[in-house]
Every structure is written in structure tokens, then in C-alpha cells.
Symmetry: C2
Subunit: 468 residues, 2 copies
């Protein structure tokens, strides 16, 4: 092995002159308020929050570049912040330092209708963008549970319910404007639909979690809003039967737009939280996009396949408001799960396996849960082999936390043993660094070499993805 | 700028003990035959060939690793070779050294029908793979003109006629086995359909042209062979009208599988070469995939849109042998163009622009050509904004070569001025290094930093993509 041993960086000294320099340059956009700093070091994960020493609210790439140059001068950690909805401790300032809040960079820079693309600043959220696009006949397809910022979604390679048809941020991002660790600004690609011009810088920064640079602008692929959309809900006797019906539907080439699995516990949680009355069973949520005739054909085929696997209670939603209610319920699943146990905090995780192993992976996970008193609903983007488990924990009960942690570790190792990944869409943050090593071994040393080459002083979101 | 000035490496000393070491280890798989070396330093481009000093025919990843370790020890250049069909001088041994011929690594390692994926060794060609898959109901969708090796296609981020629907190698490669510059072997990803686990090593090596490592195994996404397929040919009065019909078809959400533009000169060349009798006009080749009803609907919609833009002589091909003849004619376009001028050698290039600029880019390119006596057919993957020009040149006429070179340079700068890329699918090799700088500026310094970090001695295909 060529890589050296781990060497952590030291904590930033908050008495450094950096904070004065920032205040001089950015005035009221800088704060060291304890509550603001605390909020900016906290995400939606179970991992311990860590406050930055200072937060700067920015409005332009130039401002981000200036901040990063100052941080480079003082060797201070610099952490990008969007909406704080990350799930592996991504925004935690493990070594203190400067948080760059990009949430005010909310400009849609351009929409190119003929090219089906647009460019947005990093603070634009997915819902804001789709609201903006409403009259163009186009939409942005990536939809994680939260109304996350698009900069954050790019930085964590986010995904969601549409990925099976429209791809994740990996496929959706066409180009990025990035502030490098020395303050230089690059554009990673031109606006052409494809390119064979050199190393794929766009894909390198997508999913780099702020450890190689700060993404300030994103050029995104858009899709035409389909002529017809139909959504449906169907109950299955077992997870296996639900998953097998999905495998057959995808193998049959049915261009399903969304196909989501929710277990019986999650369905009960959703009914309580979203005032719906779906059957409390292993359930698939479907959506079909296309022409009217195409959607009718897809729907019929999927329903036939579901019936082969014991699917029942097929319930169609074709009115926009009914479909929106259905998908909002799905997006709110995490919050619904959490409400199952008042006062609890969910330890949320996700893994992704080849779809042929998905039923087995979920079944073994449920068996593991059967031996515990901890409630843990399961929901997943089953068309991609990706699923989530939310262990609902008493945050003050260390025994429970330990027990859930052990089950969580077994879940991830189970997914890895099935040739899966330790995270399908949440990212590594500082929560899954050890699992990344287990997953890719020597590959992680290549990541470390890249990190060292681009950020030799380890100022960009230090302690995430790789320890150097 | 943090990057240092260009420093080229020295030529490998062919009297080095390395060649003896290779012969000792690999016996008859090693050759220094002049004709074999010449062939391995030559591709299908107009760029000067450069022979390696020795060629080693390999059969396994372990063998590649051993060779690379020896090359690292002697600081010798090492260049991967598949079928030699690259188009920007990728296989030229600019500084001599060792060519690793992977063409005998022809094993399909596994096919996972339920997961719609497979793993192949680098020397498997696209036609060989599809032949192998024939009875599975699945197919591999990326189809450059040549029957290239899949290792080479991954290394150059190849594309082809299906990319508008199924993506390029960027979207199709799920994971790679790569021999690093010090001989270590990594697997870049697990076999899950998506992952948010760390830097996207897969995408970093796809398109890296052998400059960061040698790809020995590729895991690929496959698709189900559609129930119905229809192909068609349609003539248009002008390039603008053809392109505008494509823009409208894609905006309308018609999931066209292939949509190719061939200009009048190319159509004449194809008729001569492939014994077809298509109208000699600006022409679109279409293909629609789906259910029978879906294909019928798509075909009807596309034909209606074509008619709005003056499309005529719509000619359908639905029998497999007729469709195959049509697409083989398209794939042979480069050879057909070349046959237009016996004894000529084509200077082939490709650029890619946002589709809204495509008609303008092609028109200006044709206007530039009008002022020249050089014949240069144009063909393109118009759904992606990507097109090819083949300047048919007398290889002994320096004046003609200079004139074509100037037109070529204007073409690439025109594409860049339209926010396009200097290559949509051929790659950089050593032919387009200056254009890569013009395209991405400071971004290239990031590529250089990555190259230096992973290959500090610059032994992997030196002189390609970036000069360090």
C-alpha cells in the first residue's frame, strides 16, 4: 500500500485573525452566534452535531472564492451548508472552522427550453426549481425526501423516487461551477449533452460532499412533463413477492417512472401521519409516465404482473391532487416513521444491493429486527435495489442506541456481502467512513490520493469521506 | 495558477533490461517485431503513429499488474491496446515503451439476467458481447462505428447511435477493475445500480484513456431487447429543418432510441459503398423501441413532426434483416466516406454542442467547406448534438492537409464558442490537447493534479489528455 497512515488535522483555533478578516470583508453576513453555529453543525442524522466557529451567508461564487482563499491562508476548515438535511453528519464541523451558508444563492441563472437544461445557484431547492419551471413544460426529476438544496444534492449524489427512470444526480448534473480549495473557480464541463473531453470532473465533484471544493452553480438536465401520469398503490402478501414483481416489470422493459416499496410498519405510520387509509401491508407505490395510450398500456402490464405475485387492492390515482397527496405521503415517510414513537429520534440509514438480492437483504434485515424490541420501518426505491431503515430510538437510552448501532452495522455488512454498497443515496459523511473502507478497500487509497492532491492542507470539509 | 509548466518525459531507452525481464516472465507473449510494434502504435486517426518498443499479449489482470509493476520499476511508458480503432492517436507510443495488448482477454465473466448487468474482460468487443447475449433477451446498447473492444470503449467514454435513449459508456459502465500505475488492482464500485459511496472512481477512469490505469474488466448495464423495433429513413430539404424536427420530437417526449443525421454527401457515399438506394439528401435515420403499440405511436408522432418540417420519402424498415442493413450502412459511414475518394485518408473529427445550436454549427461548418475543394461528409448523432466531419485528404498533399487542419481548428473553436465540447465521443488522445485547454481552462489544471497524484512518474499512456 502506498497510502500513508491516517493523520487527523487539528481543531481550528477560533481566536484566529480569520474571523476578523471575514467580518471586515463580509460585515453583517458573518455571525458567531452560538445558536446559529449550532444549527449549522447539525443535520437530520443521528450523528453528533459539531458547531462551526463562524457562519458566513453568501450570495455569489466570488464571495465563496474570497472566503475559501482566507480559509486557505489560515488553514481553517470550510464547510458548505445548504438546507442541513443531510443524513450522515455531512455538515458537522468536526474540527470547527467556517461554515459557508449557500441558502441565499437562490437564482435560477438560465433555462434552455430547447436543450432541456437549466443552470441554478447552489441554494435553489428542488421544489423551488420545479415551481419556477412549471410553465415551461419541463421538470427536474431528482426528488429526495427533503426539499434539499440542489448544491447539497449534487454534493451528496442524491437520488429519490424517480431515479429508476430518470437517473440520480450522477446522470442529471451536466456541469458544475466549483470553488477549489485555493479559491480558484472552475467550470467542470460545457453545456453539451455528452463529452469525451478528458477526465470527468463533473462526476468527480458530484458526491464529493464538499471535500474537494464548494459547488456554487449547477447545470441540470431537465425532462418534458409527460402527457399522462398515473399513480397506483398495491398490497402484496410478502416483501419477496413485491420485489419479484418489480424485477419482472423491469426485465419486461416497462418504463416505470417510480416504483417504491413500503413495509407494513411504514404504511401504518403514513396512514397516521398523512391521514391516508391505505391497507397496512407490504406495499408498492407506482408511477407511470408517457402518452395516454402508453401509460394505459404500462399500467395494465404492471397490474397483470403484480397479480401474478399476489398483488391486490390495486388503487389508481390519476387526478393531480390525488397523485400529489400519494407522493407527498411517500416523501414524508421519514417524518411519519418518526412520529410512530413520540420523543424518539430516528437512526436512519440506506443501503443498495443488486435487485436480485433485494428481497433476501430485506428479509434478513427484518429477521434481525424480529429479535429486538426496536421498531424500524423499511421503505425503499425498489427499482434500484435501494432501501432505508429508520431505527426509532430513545436518544437518552444508550443500550437501545448500542443495540440499533449493532443491527445497523450488520445491515451494512449484509449489503456489502451481497455485492451492494454501504449507501445508495445518503453518502458517507463521517458516519460511514469505515464502511467505505470495507466496500472499496484499496479504492479508498485512490480517493485519498485525489483528496491530498486537490486539498493538500485538508481544509475542505475535513473528516468526511476519507481521513487523510 | 498553481500548476507548473509543461514538462515532457524522455523517450524510453529500448536497450533497457525491462524487455529481457518481460521476455523472462511472459515468454512467447512478448514481441519486439517491427511490424507488430508498428501496428500497435497506429490507430484509425490522421495523427502520426508512434511504435512502442515491445508488445505483450496478456490474458489476465494479474499479468497486466505484473507488466505495470515492471514498467514502474523501469519508469517505462505503458500503453493499453484493444482494437486500435481510436481516432485521436490514443495508442501512439509517443515516448516508446510497452504496449499491453488486451485483445485476447475475451471472456464474458458473468451475466446477471435479473439485474440486467454483466461483467466482461477488456478485450471483448461490442459485437461479441451482443452475440453472447442473444439468447438472454438482453443487449448492450453502446455502439460506436467500429467493433471496438469494451475496454477501449470505457477508456475513451465511447458513445454511438443509441446514446440518446440508453446513454454513453459514462452511464453504462457500473464498475471497473483497474490496474493502477504501481500495479495495484482496484475495483471501482460494487454491482449495485447506484451508490453515494465516496468519489465516483468509475466515472474517473471512464474516459481517462489509459492515463491513470489500465482497465481490465468492465461491469456493464444491459437493457431488455424491446418487444418491437421500427426503423425509418426520411429526407429533409435542409439541415435546419431536419434538426428542428429532432428538437421538437425530443421536447415532445418521444422516447426515440436512435436519431441520426447524414448529409447529402454521406448518403451518396453510403449508397455507393453499401449498395443502398436512399435519396441523396439531408437525411434522418430513426429507430423506435418499445411495445408494439408504443412503437406504432412513436413512429406516427415522429412522422407527423417530420412532415411539419418538410420531411418526405419516409421509408420504414421493420424486418430485422432490413433494419440491420440500414444500421450497418450507418455504422459503415466512415468507410463509405473514405471510399468516395480512392487513395485518400480521412481526417476525422467530432464535436458536440447544445442541440439548440446544432443546425447553426453544421451550417457554418458547411459554409466553411464551401470555400474549399476538399470533400468532407458530415454525419451525426443529432439527438445528442454530436456530429462528425471526415475531411477526405490526399495523405501526400501537405497543402491540402494544412487547409483541412485549419478548417478543423475553426470547427472545434466554433463548437466551443457555442458552449459545446471539442469531442463528443472520440476523446482527446494527443490530437486535441490544445482544444481541451481552450474548453476547460483551469479545469485542466485539476486534471493535471489528479494525473500527477495517481501517476507521479507519468508512465501511463504519457502525452495523452494532459501534458504534465
Amino acid at each position: 500500500m502506498r497510502s500513508s497512515t491516517a493523520e487527523k488535522r487539528e481543531r481550528f483555533d477560533p481566536s484566529s485573525a480569520l474571523i476578523n478578516d471575514l467580518m471586515e470583508e463580509f460585515g453583517e453576513s458573518v455571525t458567531t452566534s452560538v445558536s446559529v453555529c449550532e444549527r449549522h453543525g447539525t443535520d437530520e442524522s443521528f450523528h453528533l452535531p459539531h458547531s462551526p466557529d463562524v457562519v458566513v451567508f453568501v450570495r455569489s461564487t466570488e464571495q465563496v472564492s474570497k472566503i475559501v482563499k482566507l480559509c486557505a491562508k489560515y488553514q481553517a476548515p470550510v464547510i458548505a451548508y445548504g438546507t442541513g438535511t443531510s443524513l450522515e453528519g455531512h455538515v458537522a464541523a468536526l474540527y470547527g472552522g467556517v461554515c459557508v451558508d449557500l441558502s441565499q444563492m437562490k437564482t435560477v441563472v438560465e433555462v434552455n427550453q430547447e436543450d432541456l437544461d437549466c443552470t441554478v445557484q447552489a441554494g435553489v431547492t428542488r421544489k423551488q426549481l420545479n415551481e419556477y419551471l412549471r410553465d415551461t413544460g419541463l421538470f427536474f426529476a431528482v426528488d429526495p425526501g427533503a426539499d434539499a438544496s440542489i448544491g447539497g444534492m449534487a454534493a451528496t449524489r442524491a437520488s429519490g423516487t424517480n431515479a429508476v427512470r430518470y437517473g440520480t444526480m450522477r446522470e442529471t448534473v451536466m456541469s458544475l461551477k466549483v470553488v477549489l480549495p485555493d479559491g480558484r473557480v472552475i467550470q467542470t464541463a460545457r453545456r453539451s449533452r455528452k463529452s469525451a473531453a478528458g477526465y470527468d470532473l463533473t462526476r468527480l465533484f458530484v458526491g464529493s460532499e464538499g471535500t474537494l471544493g464548494i459547488i456554487t452553480e449547477i447545470t441540470l438536465r431537465l425532462f418534458g412533463i409527460p402527457e399522462a401520469i398515473a399513480s397506483a398503490v398495491c398490497s402484496f402478501p410478502t416483501v419477496e413477492e413485491a420485489v419479484n414483481s418489480v424485477i419482472l416489470a423491469i426485465q419486461s422493459g416497462i418504463p416505470v417512472a417510480r416504483i417504491e416499496l413500503l413495509d407494513d410498519i411504514t404504511m401504518g405510520a403514513i396512514n397516521n401521519f398523512s391521514k391516508t387509509n391505505y391497507p397496512v401491508a407490504q406495499t408498492l407505490f407506482y408511477e407511470f409516465h408517457g402518452s395516454k395510450a402508453g401509460v394505459a398500456e404500462q399500467s395494465r402490464q404492471a397490474q397483470e404482473i403484480a397479480a401474478e405475485f399476489g398483488g391486490s387492492n390495486f388503487q389508481w390515482e390519476t387526478l393531480p391532487e390525488d397523485r400529489n397527496r400519494l407522493w407527498q405521503a411517500r416523501h414524508d415517510a421519514l417524518y411519519a416513521m418518526n412520529a410512530l414513537r413520540p420523543g424518539s429520534k430516528p437512526m436512519v440509514t440506506d443501503v443498495c444491493v443488486p435487485i436480485s438480492r433485494l428481497a433476501e437483504c430485506i428479509r434478513e434485515t427484518k429477521t434481525d429486527l424480529d429479535g429486538s424490541s426496536i421498531m424500524a420501518p423499511i421503505a425503499g426505491h425498489v427499482g434500484d435495489g435501494n432501501f432505508h431503515v429508520a431505527y426509532l430510538l430513545d436518544p437518552n437510552d444508550n443500550k437501545e442506541i448500542k443495540e440499533a448501532g449493532d443491527m445497523h452495522d450488520r445491515l451494512v455488512m449484509r449489503a456489502l456481502a451481497m455485492n451492494g454498497t454501504c449507501t445508495g443515496e445518503h453518502g458517507i459523511g463521517y458516519g460511514k467512513i469505515n464502511f467505505l473502507n470495507a466496500e472499496l478497500g484499496e479504492g479508498v487509497s485512490v480517493m485519498r490520493e485525489i483528496k491530498r492532491a486537490l486539498d493538500p492542507d485538508n481544509i475542505m470539509n475535513p473528516g468526511k469521506i476519507v481521513q487523510i
